[in-house]
Amino acid sequence: MYGAKDIESRTGRARQPAALSDAALKRLFLWPTLGLLIAFNLFPLLYSLYLSFTDYSAISSRAPQWIGLQNYRDILNDGQLWIYFRNTGKYVVLSVAFETLVGFGMALLLRRKFFGSGIITTLILIPMMCSPVVVGLFWKMMYNPGYGIFNYLLGFPAGRGPDWLSSPKLALWAVVIVDVWMWAPYVMLLCLAGLSAIPDYLYEAAEIDRAGPLYTFWRITLPQVAPLLLIAVLFRTIEAFKTFDLVMGLTGGGPGDTTELVAVDLYRLAFLGQFNTGKSSALAYIVLVIITGVSNIYVRYLNKLKEG
């Protein structure tokens, strides 16, 4: 009879160094990921938090000097920045509201299969696949009062329609329209997923109970889609708060201050010759806190919906 030692000596395994254990293998996969996360996420996050309390400029060879809450005080006492926050709030509310309405409306129209519904859905999704800078530039041409198609479609003769991007009253609306055009399909997509997941028996039961279309919508469709709709609204709110490229492509923040959003001002503060790294880090953290706060409200509501 052979013993285990004999087998090991015959196969030569005894001379082999120990193989990696399962735990070591786990660590092997985990450490690089953790290392990357720390290097590229956690460290910049904490370092920029530190910088927000300093007068650091990325183009200065001078070391950061600790100035405490000065940057935060300057930002919160800057009347100009409050105008940008107000613009951003207005923009977020308008664009997310219209995206939700249009996106959900399109999803309801497209939930039933009909001839060509597949291709129509695909075509509707195209805007969200385009680069925001490209979208901004070509909508700028479409808005041109001289030769743009937008005013023509609204029924104005060439050169007589409103100058959407130059008018302080219309410029923000012009950006909102483009954002809705671009991102309503995203809301539609999530809503379609929610609508397709509603079991048919709920509608059948409602039909047996002779429930009207409005009642069915309020009591079955909307509650069933609500979790996914809320996720869409959450993502769009976060993204709308950070809108930068679309504004730069369309209006550059003008006319005057009317479309100057916080993210655009953050860019000017952080780069564009100023390189006020400390102050821009502080502004970025204020934006982060606002977005986190708003997201928390959504998430709590979402959890309530799930529980309910």
Binding site: I59, L165, G252, G254, G256, L272, F275
Partner: protein, 483 residues
């Protein structure tokens, strides 16, 4: 199967070798420049400038042979046609000194960011930079540029340059006689106009009947506005002019300062006083005037800079176009402008003060202070070659906008292109925005306030300038420039 398993020891060994390899690769990319020799005595530049080495102290003024061991030099500039002309010009230097000079081009949008971040790291990626005139204060006080005062009026032939360009592109602080750059690419705002429309007998007759004067190149800003008004015909999609209105960076500020200076006003005094200067009666009138020009631009002109203005001109939508001379080659080229043969050029007209000034563009070439002594010496010798009359003449022939007066005033130069005569005239009357280290903060304020008033029609000119003066004053005080 089991033989191929990776054991802990082998894994650690591989990881260690990979780590060492990565570190060596990262460190070995470029030969580290040798430390500056102790002989390089720094001089403290005034105006709060950090200790900066001089060209002479680096051994460059000794007149020794260029380079020594240096076989190549690099210049950073923005990505545009003049950089290509410079690359062509510096090919000759290979024959002169045996040194290859390479012009590294960076897109305009990231040009400043790339330069200043490299400088913050005391980088040696380039030996020279053709930097924006507004960078002078920041780059000299940060110690990024080498002071070239010692050689400016001797080896670099500074006296041969148009005086206004020396102040604008080379000197900081202004009026101190301290030089940090050699004016390489002169540029300023001028005008292109449709000669065919100006010379049309019917138009001339109608204009004379309406304004009781001949239709010709305007001599005053008031005449220019009348011509713009005359040609503004929305029903024919024709408008009087195109001006700078863009909110980004410095466009609308540059447009406005064309009239600000010509009205006899200024951004401030040499000792940084802004209250009562920037918001003076003349400045307010100038701003009201600039806004009045905005009535004669085509619809959709609320965010225009050089590209947009040129596009409107080549599309036949505007009769006069404000633009930097550097962008006029595109208007003189038939392939990019169908009206190229019918396009004329003129320099800024006079304001009510009888003075005429133009907003400055263009750049000077500076030596980077972080390169080693051999490279400083080679780069300085290159500058001396670049400043020679013959080199400047060839620079102008290639399409570069020289600041050398002898070349500027020669008939050969003035007749070389349809816009050179106007350019030569303009280079004698250029003025610039602040070139102090905090210029970008001040620029941000002027851009916002001017755009709010001119384009968004908010408030009055007085309110816009009062607010600007207060904010500029605060910034200058914070920077320690104004007591």
């Amino acid at each position: 199967m089991s033989d191929s398993k990776l054991d802990r020891r082998r894994f650690l060994r591989i990881a260690a070798f990979s780590g060492i390899g990565a570190v060596l690769a990262a460190c070995g990319g470029e030969a580290a420049p040798s430390a500056p020799a102790g002989g390089a005595a720094p001089t403290a530049a005034s105006g709060g400038a950090a200790a900066a080495p001089t060209a002479a102290s680096s051994g460059a003024a000794s007149g020794g042979a260029a380079g020594g061991s240096v076989k190549e030099l690099t210049i950073l500039w923005a990505q545009w046609d003049p950089s290509n002309y410079l690359q062509q010009l510096v090919k000759d230097y290979q024959g002169v000194a045996g040194i290859d000079v390479k012009v590294v081009q960076e897109p305009w949008g990231t040009f400043g960011d790339r330069f200043f971040t490299e400088m913050a790291a005391k980088g040696t990626a380039w030996d020279m930079v053709v930097g924006d005139s507004q960078w002078l204060g920041q780059a000299s006080t940060n110690g990024n540029y080498i002071e070239i005062t010692d050689i400016f009026n001797t080896d670099l032939n500074g006296k041969a340059l148009a005086p206004a360009t020396v102040t604008a592109y080379a000197e900081y602080p202004k009026g101190t006689g301290k030089y940090w750059a050699y004016p390489l690419e002169g540029d300023a705002d001028g005008w292109a106009y449709r000669k065919d429309l100006f010379e049309d007998p019917k138009e001339m007759e109608a204009y004379k009947a309406k304004y009781n004067r001949d239709l010709k190149v305007p001599e005053t800003w008031a005449e220019l506005r009348d011509i713009a008004e005359f040609f503004t015909r929305p029903d024919k999609n024709l408008y009087g002019l195109g001006i700078y209105t863009q909110k980004d960076y410095d466009a609308i500020t540059m447009g406005y300062e064309n009239v600000l200076f010509s009205w006899g006003a200024d951004w401030g005094t040499p000792d940084y006083k802004v209250q009562g200067v920037l918001n003076s009666k003349e400045a307010v009138e100038a701003l009201d005037f600039y806004k009045s020009l905005y009535k004669f631009v085509p619809p959709g002109s609320s965010n225009d800079f050089f590209q947009e203005v040129n596009n409107k001109f080549t599309a036949g939508q505007i009769v006069m176009a404000m633009n930097y001379f550097a962008f006029f080659p595109a208007l003189a080229n038939k392939s990019s402008n169908p009206f190229a043969d019918k396009t004329g050029y003129f320099s800024n007209p006079k304001g009510p003060s009888g003075k005429s000034f133009a907003a400055l563009g263009g750049q000077g070439i500076s030596l980077i202070s972080y390169i080693n002594d051999d490279r400083k010496k080679a780069a300085t010798e290159f500058l001396k070659w670049l400043a020679k009359d013959d080199t400047q003449k060839k620079w102008a022939q290639l399409g570069g906008y020289t600041c050398n007066n002898a070349v500027l005033n020669s008939d050969e130069f003035k007749k070389a292109t349809p816009y050179n005569a106007a350019f030569a005239e303009t280079m004698q009357k250029v003025k610039d925005f602040w070139a102090v280290p905090v210029y970008s903060e001040m620029l941000q304020v002027s851009q916002t306030n001017l755009h709010n008033f001119v384009v968004a029609d908010q408030g009055t000119a007085q309110e816009a300038l009062d607010d600007m003066a207060k904010k500029h004053e605060d910034t200058l005080k914070k920077a320690g420039l104004l007591k």
